[in-house]
Symmetry: C2
Subunit: 225 residues, 2 copies
Amino acid sequence: MAERLRSAGRREQSLSRERIIEASIELLDSCGEDGLTYRALAERLATGPGALYWHIASKSDLLTSACDTMVAQTLNALAVTTPESTIRAVALGIFDLIDEHPWVGSALTRTPGLLSIVRILERIGQQICALGVPDEQQWAAVGALMAYILGVSSQNAANRQLARTQGLDRGSFLEAVSTAWSQLDTKQYPFARSMAGQIRDHDDRADFLAGIDLILKGIRSPRQP
Amino acid sequence: MAERLRSAGRREQSLSRERIIEASIELLDSCGEDGLTYRALAERLATGPGALYWHIASKSDLLTSACDTMVAQTLNALAVTTPESTIRAVALGIFDLIDEHPWVGSALTRTPGLLSIVRILERIGQQICALGVPDEQQWAAVGALMAYILGVSSQNAANRQLARTQGLDRGSFLEAVSTAWSQLDTKQYPFARSMAGQIRDHDDRADFLAGIDLILKGIRSPRQP
DNA sequence: CAGAGTATTGGAATGATGTTCCAGTAAGTT
DNA sequence: AACTTACTGGAACATCATTCCAATACTCTG
């Protein structure tokens, strides 16, 4: 195949899958999810769109690969400790990753069965095994954790993006949500109204971890008589 | 405003926000998320794209409204029983809704702060209150449930869509995932490999409910000394 | 019931996107 | 030096959301 040629490769200036993905990540970080276009990418790499298609099959391939690069990098950076705190570390690592790079969130949730998903699943699954969870409950435990982690992180990312399109920072955004909720109809939305105050100055990260602990508690609980 | 005119209305044949949203839902159900275009919608309603813009501001407005219609409809159809089984009913209702109409999943996760989200949150929040969860733990409990429900449902929806683009039914898709996982590297992915068999014939709905029960158990557990 | 005014329509035009196509070029091979 | 292959870059295509505007159908006023 092209492998030998590519690594021996033309000039160092030449295009490659890695260089394109790297540039994509920069573009996604600086201009957001909509900022990634083949035209902008081609301009940044001083070439044409056609050249990019030689290395990368489609835009979804591009997004998927960029996402996987980030996830792999994040997971590799984690220290290994006890099972429960490793699970917390993986969870927080993904949360922070998506918080800092919101596009990773939508890429992760849009295309499943992905290598990235398996990476995370594997890391968490090993800890679940280490906790001694019986075989038939492992899938439920891992599934719940995965769904929670990806769910919260992506929702958080979507919030950030929504705030950004409205030109608000985190504080103003929460303020806006809080006032919107406090103006809801009292009879139809009593709970949302009562939460309006707590929303204003809650800590996403802390709440996220609280949820993880809730699930971990649920996983532990049946085996404590 | 136009309200009086619209209800007195031109002919019954005339366009209206409701008719457009209704047609959008039909289009989304029959042709998938990408099938909803202003052109296809205009053709179906025997008009031009410009006419639609008189009633609906943008495509995201259209998707949001269609989504909200479905969620409201689903929540209204639920019977009210005990707190815990109501939570299960809400969860299953949303799961099935997204399972049958995958586009609702991506619409829900893409645009947060939405009316739909508040509807679900309210419904669950009231049950959490009824369970006697102390004030300061309510947000964590509801947040965990919301994230889990939306997370799993959307992941499920994404799986369905992926399967559909590859022309596979549910069985063949799980089969494909199963064999893909079983071919992973033994040293790097022992857990995923061990799950490959269980994946093949698991029940999404049952696993989903198992996760809900896991979280409910976690919510209950600290208050049982 | 005529005419003015406004709500609504439908289709053409605009600008941006992902993707394809292909003529060209540079490296490696014989 | 020829020839093959890997790669490049830019033009071209189809499609999309959105905007614009002239034409229309309705309502209201006199």
